[in-house]
């Protein structure tokens, strides 16, 4: 019987002066469980362990965390995807303040999302039925609207680590492009004007960590490229 070695970042602001790694051993009975299953098994024994979870199927974005060095969702990351040498190291998403254990303060991440005005803007009166949109126009939103705001991408991005207050980050920019690309949105000019400073978009250095970690297979770098093109075209 092989016991999985699990090492988890622990920090309780009320009792710990500094974070530390706690070692656990879990008997998986040879099953290829999800990382979240491991956390639930540990939580049943050690109730002080804190993390977020909700849908347990990769659509709500609650349980983004760093697993053996890579960001992802605990609920859809299987042990066989991530465990090496029988060891699993779990840390909170990097770059954001830790609230407790694996739960981070997502405030800065949400602020950058809100900053791009993530809602459809259309100054024309709405028709009595829906606004029409061709399937081709609608196809442009695929790969954009599916973002679940898990923050795996932004918290793996060095540019976001350096300037989380000024660089919108991959998640926010993906959503920004989701509205720029929507044939029903009429605020293109205002959206671009709001992004044309040296930081908001142009701090992206094309590192593509965001693409490598996105649990939904989305490509923020490509969306950022499109925004760059629009900004450059707009400037000339």
């Amino acid at each position: 019987m092989s016991m999985l070695q699990v090492s988890i970042y622990r920090y309780n602001p009320e009792t710990d002066s500094a974070p530390y790694m706690q070692e656990y051993r879990v008997d998986t009975q040879g099953r290829d469980l999800m990382v979240l299953n491991i956390l639930e098994m540990l939580k049943a024994e050690d109730t002080t362990l804190a993390y977020r979870r909700s849908c347990r199927e990769g659509v709500c974005g609650s349980d983004g965390m760093n697993m053996n060095g890579k960001n992802g969702l605990a609920c859809i990351t299987s042990l066989s995807d991530v465990v090496k040498n029988n060891k699993l190291v779990l840390r909170p998403l990097p770059g954001l303040p830790v609230v407790r254990d694996l739960a981070v303060d997502m405030g800065l991440f949400y602020k950058q999302y809100e900053r791009i005005q993530p809602y459809l803007q259309n100054d024309e009166p709405a028709p009595a039925i829906e606004r029409l949109q061709s399937p081709e126009e609608r196809d442009k939103l695929d790969g954009l609207y599916e973002c679940i705001l898990c923050a795996c991408c932004s918290t793996s991005c060095p540019s976001f680590w350096w300037n989380p207050d000024k660089f919108v980050g991959p998640a926010g920019l993906l959503q920004s492009y989701r509205f720029l690309a929507d044939s029903r949105d009429t605020a293109t000019q205002a959206r671009l004007t709001d992004l044309q400073d040296p930081f908001s978009v142009f701090r992206c250095r094309g590192i593509m960590n965001c693409v490598a970690v996105c649990p939904k297979g989305l490509n923020p770098t490509r969306a950022i490229g499109k925004i760059r093109d629009m900004l450059l075209a707009n400037a000339t």
Binding site: S54, G58, C60, M106, Y119, E130
Partner: protein, 590 residues
């Protein structure tokens, strides 16, 4: 007590899913002092998991579609204990609510002509069941709930709604007159407990599928609103009615949408037979969910199940081709690969009926006002308390909900509650303030946990509760088994009342949240069990071996569960739609 901070709002909406955020949007636009209090960041709510779509007669797939046909399907689907005034309201107001969502930016899939894409779903018909299968479910691929929830959150941001994110509502505060005047709530990040004062308290806390061991529901679906209302002494309606979705992924419980069958997929047994042709010759795989789930269980019980243990069936999709799967069902393809290790373009998905939806809940009228009964059995409005969405029983779903009607329910009745509360606030609402002792009694259970010094673990007790419910209150039910279940639950309640919260810390203490959720699961489970035992017939999702037939003489009624007496009474079903004739109960076949 005097050190406890209080927050004051015109309206507090508990729950940040589709219903809560739709209600909040209405109130935010009105300028009333409103807040949404949600135990998770709103886009983590369970609405996000809805896949197939929102059913509504917007006359896109079929220009001649009619909301009355949708209403007929809904009433029939609910096995005739759907309130017809409520179904009428939902189906006729629906198009307005769906177009509003589109105007807010919801990225619906489209037909060539640019209109919203609609797909066939179970239980849908044209011309009052006479015109064949309809295609009435508006979809954003198979991520409609995600698209809807994010759109609502985005529009709440646009309208500056106040959010209390990661706050947990503990219990309702009632004044001396029995009106609900707010709640006790806890900030999860800090552990601070506050008294929230409000003239209108809306329970939009969703479902409670976690009372079962196997469920499609998120881990957060613990029936918090139902628990709060029951502890406050308010009755619940039709709690025995739980929907088992035909296609939960075997083993994982994760949902794959009915839209799979809408797009042409079908179920097969171990012999490869499309067995639904035998059970529902006309609608086949698109019969009502209760009918399909029962048929699957029959196949399994009669030895035609698939797999080593013969305990599931297969959902076959490969014949649809990669293009349809990629375009219309990309999300379930992903889920199937992750949770069933099956690529649906090549292999069938192993599925089994899985607890999915609570048709019952807090009885309300179409304005979301909570209802109780006076001593003579007449409806009485509960002052200050509202409910919408899955937590409410308005009742549009009756004994069995149709696919796609849940999202419509959320937006139509979330919106209706918001509009009603706005006008009620404009007219002026005055309730007695809560006294110190009113607040004390709402603090009782959190104090109990905080003072616990020994006893059993929350995790163990939860597993026991889920196993009792799974074994005695599943797809098929019978008296002796349920009697036993009720007895076990009563015993379990005693043990939960003595259970131990080991970790008493404040900051982000999820152990305390799980303890408080366990109390809510207990309330929901007991209401379900006692109501199920009492309804001595088979109707919709409630199927009994010992009473296999529908009994319209005695049970063309809502059940009402009264928590203080733990007794079940009855309430009349509404058969009086305002603009059309009553749909009279008929034998229900598909």
């Amino acid at each position: 007590m005097s050190t406890m901070r209080s927050l004051t709002f015109d309206a507090i909406i508990i729950g940040g899913g589709g219903a809560g955020m739709r209600a909040a949007l209405e109130l935010a636009k009105s300028g009333k002092k409103t807040a949404v209090l949600s135990k998770v960041f709103p886009t983590r709510s369970h609405t996000v998991s809805a896949q197939g779509g929102i059913t509504c007669a917007i006359a896109s797939a079929d220009p001649n579609d009619d909301w009355r046909w949708h209403m007929y399907d809904t009433v029939k689907g609910g096995d005739y204990i759907t309130d017809q005034d409520a179904a009428e309201y939902m189906c006729s107001e629906g198009p307005k609510a769906v177009f509003e969502l589109e105007h807010m930016g919801l990225p619906f899939s489209r037909f060539e002509n640019g209109r919203i894409y609609q797909r066939p779903f179970g239980g849908q018909s044209k011309n009052f069941g006479e015109g064949g299968q309809a295609a009435r479910t508006c979809a954003a691929a198979d991520r409609t709930g995600h698209a809807l929830l994010h759109t609502l959150y985005q529009n709440n941001l646009k309208n500056n709604t106040t959010f209390l994110n990661e706050w947990f509502a503990v219990d309702l505060v009632k004044n001396a007159d029995g009106d609900v005047v707010g709640c006790i709530a806890m900030c999860i990040e800090t552990g601070e407990v506050v008294h929230v004062k409000s003239k209108a308290t809306v329970l939009a806390t969703g479902g409670a599928g976690r009372i079962y061991a196997s469920t499609t529901n998120a881990l957060i679906n613990t029936g918090d609103g139902i628990g709060m209302a029951l502890r406050a002494g308010f009755p619940m309606q039709d709690m025995e009615m739980w929907q088992f979705h035909p296609t939960g992924i075997y083993g994982a419980g994760v949902l794959v949408t009915e839209g799979c069958r809408g797009e042409g997929g079908y179920l097969v047994n171990k012999d490869g037979e499309r067995f639904m042709e035998r059970y529902a010759p006309n609608a086949k795989d698109l019969a009502g969910r209760d009918v399909v789930a029962r048929s699957m269980v029959m196949e399994i019980l009669e030895g035609r199940g698939c797999g080593e243990n013969g305990d599931h069936v297969y959902l076959k999709l490969d014949h649809l081709g990669e293009e349809v799967l990629n375009k219309r069902l990309p999300g379930i393809s992903e889920l199937s690969k992750i949770f069933a290790h099956a690529d649906p373009t090549k292999a069938p998905i192993p599925v089994v009926p899985t607890c999915h939806y609570m048709m019952g809940g807090i009885p309300t009228n179409v304005h979301g006002q909570a209802i109780m009964q006076d001593a003579d059995g007449n409806d009485q409005i509960v002052g200050g308390l509202f409910a919408c969405g899955e937590a409410a029983c308005v009742s549009v779903h009756g004994a069995n909900r149709l696919g796609g009607n849940s999202l419509l329910d959320l937006v139509v009745f979330g919106r209706a509650a918001g509009m009603f509360i706005e006008s009620a606030l404009n007219e002026g609402i005055e309730y007695l303030d809560a006294s110190e002792s009113d607040i004390e009694s709402a603090m009782k259970r959190i104090n109990r946990w905080n003072e616990s010094s020994g006893g059993e673990s929350v995790a163990d007790l939860k597993v026991e509760l889920q196993s009792i419910m799974q074994n005695a209150f599943g797809v098929f039910r019978q008296e002796d088994n349920m009697q036993e279940g009720v007895k076990k639950l009563a015993e379990l309640r005693g043990r939960i009342a003595e259970a131990h919260l080991v970790d008493k810390s404040g900051a982000f203490n999820t152990a305390r949240i799980e303890a408080l959720e366990l109390d809510n699961l207990m309330e929901v489970a007991e209401a379900t069990a006692i109501a199920a035992l009492e309804r001595k017939e088979s109707r919709g999702a409630h199927s009994r071996y010992d009473y296999p037939d529908r009994d319209d003489v005695n049970w063309l009624k809502h059940s009402m569960y009264f928590p203080l007496e733990k007794k079940v009474g009855k309430r009349d079903v509404n058969f009086k739609p305002k603009t059309l004739d009553t749909f009279e109960p008929k034998i229900r076949t598909y």
